[in-house]
């Protein structure tokens, strides 16, 4: 049986996050040929509708309201549930982002449904879809399916390949108005610390530094390499706690979970909580002066050496490669 699947798109600073397109690709599989309807919530999101269609959604429903400008679980769940009541979907897909993690359990509770969180892969299609997710801090994986009721999953960013962008696709973008009342949470202020440029959770290349980087200045060579490769700089908890960089760069169980094509770990020992955030990366390079460091156990390639010597040499070598 084909399924009608709803996808919640997510925008940041007026731009749709890639995970929204990945969620559409997941929804297509789950639908088994059924309809994929994207939902956008915000104070001004109508203009983003077509982009969701270009990435494979069949139709878009938006809810615009001043109370949806910043995310609150009350505001977003009211808007989302109103659309769900109209649409009566068989399945729902969110991104496993801060917003998705906060909102999905509440919506699942209201739908009295199961919820499979942090999905990294989907096997099969339609009714036969089976979902794969990491467990035990990424040391193992489980295959899960929904036994009964609505199929509800959140997908980990950067794991499911989005469909090719096709700007010849067209579809209906309609809007629904919803009364949003009784917000129990008031957001006084959002202190943005995330750096400009590439979003860590969506970066294809990450150069990450740990306590071995030794100072704020020590991050400069890492930044230079990341810039050259069109990537982003990340960090371990150790580096953040030592004030070498901001917590917004933290990768791991507490920080961001990333899956780049290339992860270069410099001066990071490889604690399990760090690995939980990056061990799914396609290729891992470790640079550490301690040959016994745990990071070498997950690395594809390792260099035992001083990062202050190795990183600048790597940058030079990549420059040479690029100029050829």
């Amino acid at each position: 049986m084909t399924k009608k699947v709803i996808v919640l798109g997510e925008a940041r600073e007026g731009v749709l996050r890639n995970v929204s397109f990945e969620a559409i690709a997941a929804a297509k599989k789950i639908s088994g040929g059924g309809e994929v309807v994207a939902i956008l919530l915000g104070d001004s999101v109508q203009a983003l509708g077509n982009e969701m269609i270009h990435y494979g959604a069949d139709r878009v429903v938006t809810v615009e309201h001043p109370h949806l400008k910043t995310y609150t679980s009350d505001g977003y769940s009211q808007a989302f549930m109103a659309v769900v009541e109209n649409e009566k979907p068989d399945a729902v897909v969110f991104g496993h982002t801060a917003l998705g993690k906060d909102l999905s359990p509440k919506v699942a509770s209201k739908l009295q449904s199961g919820l499979i969180s942090d999905v990294t892969d989907i096997e099969g299609e339609g009714d036969g879809a089976v979902f794969i997710r990491p467990i035990f801090s990424g040391k193992a994986f489980e295959k899960v399916k929904i036994k009964e009721g609505i199929v509800f999953v959140t997908v980990r960013p950067n794991n499911i390949e989005p469909l090719a962008h096709d700007d010849s696709r067209s579809g209906d973008v309609s809007s629904v108005s919803v009364d949003i009342t009784n917000l129990r949470t008031i957001i006084k202020e959002v202190v943005r610390k995330s750096t400009e440029g590439v979003d860590l959770s969506e970066a294809k290349v990450i150069v990450a530094g740990g306590r071995g980087v030794k100072s704020e200045d020590g991050f400069e060579p890492l930044k230079e390499l990341a810039d050259l490769l069109g990537g982003a700089v990340g960090a371990s908890r150790g580096a953040c706690d030592a004030d070498y960089c901001d917590y917004s760069l933290q990768i791991g169980q507490t920080g961001k979970v990333v899956t780049p094509d290339l992860y270069i770990a410099a001066g990071i020992s490889g604690a399990i909580q760090h690995l939980a955030g990056m061990s799914n990366s396609k290729i891992i390079v470790a640079i550490n002066k301690d040959p016994e460091a745990n990071i070498f156990k997950v690395a594809d390639y390792g260099i035992v050496g001083d990062l202050f010597e190795v990183i600048p040499m790597l940058t030079e070598e990549f420059k040479k490669m690029k100029s050829n």
């Binding site: 009350d74 509440k106 009295q112 035990f136 994986f141 929904i146 202020e189």
Partner: protein
């Protein structure tokens, strides 16, 4: 203040994980209080010390979880409750776990419930918000700062590295993020005292819950270890030769550049 902390006994994921027959082998494994729940317990104790009241730690699980509850009592919680489902249920998911916890809590009138933001083994981060929704109280996840003034609550919340400054009110459920506090270790006198503190055990029969409410909606059909990576290649030779080789490998073998 009537404070509850949701505590999960978890597998210590720093230990080696053995899988056989599609299941995690628990024999001989180390079990701990979920680390994020330790932040929740610590915060609960600090709130109680500042505002008065009582901290109850609540776990759903089997008999073995008494050990983690005793540890929480030794840290300074006042009471512990174990919802022992061992004999009644073999399959549980986040839907049913939340149903059971919320059913226990529904007539306890908690002012504040603290949970961990995620369990390091199951890793879904669902149980806190689900319980709050079932109790029809507000929740704030991944908090790094909590200040209570009467029924007003100010919170700093971590959102992928950005911080939100939030105002809300009790009753409330919050989930703890690393950075909220430094959990204390149980002291020796704490451990002695904990032996005499109440640890109640209830079973599903003691709750007012229908069998339908505890039928899992999801099913794990397999658990497996990631395909073993070929042992990573630690390069050799002088550093500049290693760097040249690495760039070559990334380009031609790994094809990521």
């Amino acid at each position: 203040m009537n404070i509850y902390v949701l505590v999960k006994r978890t597998f210590d994921t720093e230990e080696r994980i053995v899988v056989s027959g599609g299941k995690i082998q628990e024999d001989g494994a180390e079990f701990i209080i979920n680390p994020y729940d330790e932040y929740a317990i610590e915060e609960a104790i600090q709130v109680r010390d500042a505002h008065g009241g009582e901290v109850t730690v609540l776990t759903m699980g089997g008999e073995e979880a008494e050990k983690q509850l005793r540890t929480a009592l030794a840290m300074g919680a006042d009471k512990a409750v174990l919802i022992n489902v061992e004999d009644d249920i073999d399959e549980l998911d986040q839907f049913t776990s939340a149903q059971i916890l919320a059913d226990y809590l529904k007539d306890k009138n908690p002012d504040l419930i603290l949970a961990g933001n995620v369990a390091i083994d199951g890793g879904s981060g669902q149980v806190g918000p689900r319980v709050a929704d079932l109790l029809d109280i507000n929740y704030v996840t991944t908090i790094t700062k909590l200040e209570i003034n009467g029924t007003q609550v100010s919170i700093v919340r971590d959102v992928e590295g950005d911080s939100e400054v939030i105002e809300t009110s009790l009753p409330l459920l919050v989930t703890a993020q690393q950075g909220l506090n430094e959990p204390r270790y149980p002291s020796l006198p704490g451990i002695m005292k904990a032996k005499k503190k109440p640890l109640d055990e209830v079973e599903l029969d003691d709750l007012d819950i229908d069998e339908d409410d505890v039928v899992a909606k999801t099913e794990t059909i397999d658990i497996y270890l990631p395909p073993k990576k070929e042992a990573g290649r630690v390069l050799e030779g002088d550093i500049s030769a290693q760097v040249t080789e690495l760039v070559q490998l990334l380009r031609t073998e790994a094809k990521v550049i």
